[in-house]
Amino acid sequence: MSKHLLRVENVYKRFGDNEVLKGISFQLDKGETKVIVGPSGTGKSTILSLINMLVTPDEGHIYLEDIDITRTRDIHKVRQNIGFVFQDFGLFNHLTAKGNVMIGLTKVKKMKKKEAEEIAMEELRRVGLENFADHYPAQLSGGQKQRVGIARALAMRPKLILFDEPTSALDPELTGEVLNVMRKLANEGMTMLIVTHEMGFARTVADELIFMEDGVILEQGPPEKLFTSPEHPRTREFLFKLTDLYNEGER
């Protein structure tokens, strides 16, 4: 039917009296990296939760390939195809790094332990943590935890991965190692939808930027266009302010 991997169509979400999303629509193609930016509290993270059905929309549809995930009965089957990387890592504290990567394979995909272990080691190597396989989350730095979180998502061989402010809980000197892993994934052709405030990263890695404010998408397009000749004055204001902050951090 449609060749888009993900289609979000006219989605509305309300929490009590607070209307968080007011008619959001966009698409994501296979191999594409899109970054959602915008001021805090504009519903960016809510979109990611909706795509994973951790929150259900009040109106609208979300399609993964041809499945309407807002209507499906087997949502846990759909979730296997959608990786999620959390702001606060969401690692299982009672499992080692390797155990965290393996558990989805053994319990959800019902894989043999040995096979799961091989995949887990492969993914930990991919994020540069093969030497930390036996460390528990509490024994890892924030950046390492987040890379385990990414390896855990990768191991499920998802069709796309959602990143919810993956570096916001990290010390500035640790964000680089996580962003580098994400940059590598983008180059390898992983489909990613990322919410972040890292403007430098967004500008260089995203195929397309989505600028959101107050529950609506104000503008979307290639990053260079949004950064150099935005159509909406709010886009210009926001991007310039953050870019300034970012550059100041560089100096």
Binding site: R79, Q80, F86, G90, F92, N93, H94, G104, M156
Partner: protein, 232 residues
């Protein structure tokens, strides 16, 4: 003077022990049997109740809450009497030991449910979200992610519960279960050495408590998650 009378007392205790050790060991075995069976059954019952209370729908959660309230709000001895003397009215006749096993299990299950409920709720909600995001069902998330963490955290409370049970099983003598206290009562009524016989029994309980407390500390250490060890 005091020391010599104490020594003499200890000696006397020991003589009482020597004269009655088969009966005392039999009683001790019954006490340990009651405690271990009811605490394990209590853990199972408590886990089911806690899951029902935290994750059940309004109806189940309400029933569990009412049940726990009823058990925690009434004396254990009353519960024991209801089971042993009350149920026969409805044609359910239980042996003393069965009645003790049932009432201690129910009682302990209610308390253990509350301990576990607390520790389930102390595991961050993000953990279940992460489990769901991997494609686990809610129950898979609960069994593979929430419970393994919650059960570890509850070990110290369960240690206390086990110790309570160990001591509370002495109530079973009232419905003629021949556990340690029951045997002591028989011995004392024969030798008339009430003070020394009960002192001896108190001493045996104390040793038991110390031994099991040590044992549980070891279990706790064995299952500790790095970074989440309890500071003592």
């Amino acid at each position: 003077m005091f020391l010599s009378s104490l020594l003499e007392g200890l000696q006397k205790n020991f003589t009482i022990f020597l004269a009655n050790y088969p009966a005392l060991l039999r009683g001790l075995a019954v006490t340990i049997y009651l405690t271990i069976i009811t605490s394990i059954a209590g853990i199972i019952l408590g886990t089911l109740l806690a899951l029902g209370k935290v994750y059940g729908n309004k109806f189940i959660s309400g029933i569990v809450t009412a049940f726990i309230g009823l058990i925690q709000g009434t004396p254990l001895l009353v519960q024991l009497f209801v089971v042993y003397y009350g149920l026969p009215v409805y044609g359910i006749r239980l042996t003393p030991i069965a009645a003790a096993l049932i009432s201690f299990t129910i009682n302990s299950g209610a308390y253990q449910a509350e301990y576990l409920r607390g520790s389930i709720q102390s595991v961050s909600s993000g953990q279940l979200k992460a489990a769901l995001s991997l494609g686990m069902t809610r129950w898979q998330g609960i069994f593979y992610v929430i419970l393994p963490q919650a059960l570890r955290r509850v070990i110290p409370s369960w240690t206390n519960e086990f110790i309570y049970l160990l001591k509370y099983t002495s109530l079973a003598y009232i419905i003629t279960v021949p556990e340690l206290m029951g045997e002591a009562k028989i011995i004392a009524s024969r030798n008339y050495e009430f003070f020394k016989t009960y002192l001896l029994v108190a001493f045996i309980y104390l040793i038991l408590v110390l031994v099991f407390t040590r044992l549980f500390r070891r279990i706790e250490k064995r299952f500790a998650i790095p970074g989440f060890e309890l500071k003592r």
